[in-house]
Amino acid sequence: MFVARYDRQMRIDGWGVEGQRKLREASVAIVGIGGLGCPVALYLTAAGIGRLKLIDADVVDESNLNRQVLHWTSDIGRPKPESAREKLQQLNSDVEINIACDRLTDENADVVLGDVDVIVDALDNFPTRFVVNSYAVRSGKPLFHGAVWGLEGRATTILPGQTACLSCIFKASPPAEVFPVVGTTPGIVAMIQATEVIKYFTGIGQLLLNRYLIYDGEAMSFHIVRLKRDPNCPVCGFSGR
């Protein structure tokens, strides 16, 4: 039933036709179609995910082009979800690609994210991350977190109720800033996020649960710190319940 397109990945132990079928039945929201979201979308599309929902309210700006690899020079001024969808459809027409040019809020999150299985946090700001995290906890949907700054990146996989959520880890947003970043940093972090999504659906390997992975591109090293659920977390806390 699956063409040569997926042959090489189906040869991975534990993947096969069944793993590919699971991927084809999966739906993934990518929140933020920028430095992280573009490569996540590109590789999930190549892998034959069933349906992607690309969510971003911004249009392509020239200053995005050093890292947001699905947006090209001629796309400047176009809505990012549209620009990304056009290339992804050319890569793999098996994949259904929905778009939403919305800024996520607590008010619209249930509608915008309601029709997907899992969510990829490919955002560039904490206030919206906290909106997505709250929705993930509320709905019980897995959340694949990534963040970048300069040559440093972070990733973790959040299973609400089982692992620390974003609000267990960080109690407040860092200050707003135009932060430095080279395209390779979100490229690397996005590959970790996409790998986690694929592992989640195919059941292969161990997920990055309660572990905060730090990529340090300056030292070229990776390290991990352990995360714990905060019983007093304002979003997922379980003390006194």
Partner: protein
Amino acid sequence: MPVQVRIPTPLRRLTNDQDLVTVEASTVAEMIEKLEEQFPGVKQRLYDESGQLRQFINIFVDGEDIRFLNGLETPLKESSEVSIIPAIAGGIIN
């Protein structure tokens, strides 16, 4: 006792680009004071005006968040590794 401190990229300009710094300290609070002596400006990046650790900054000792240990009074052992981990990508100023 000597402990190793892992400096996050956003603070590395204050540590002469060093990603790992060794200081002599027996608690996390003392470690921050020693860092400040060597690299003035670090403390202000970690503490808010009331002298509390900024809410978007986490410190891990040997991989464990000090919020689940003894906070700034968490003791350090010989060769403990401390990681300073600020939330990154705070958002774009339009």
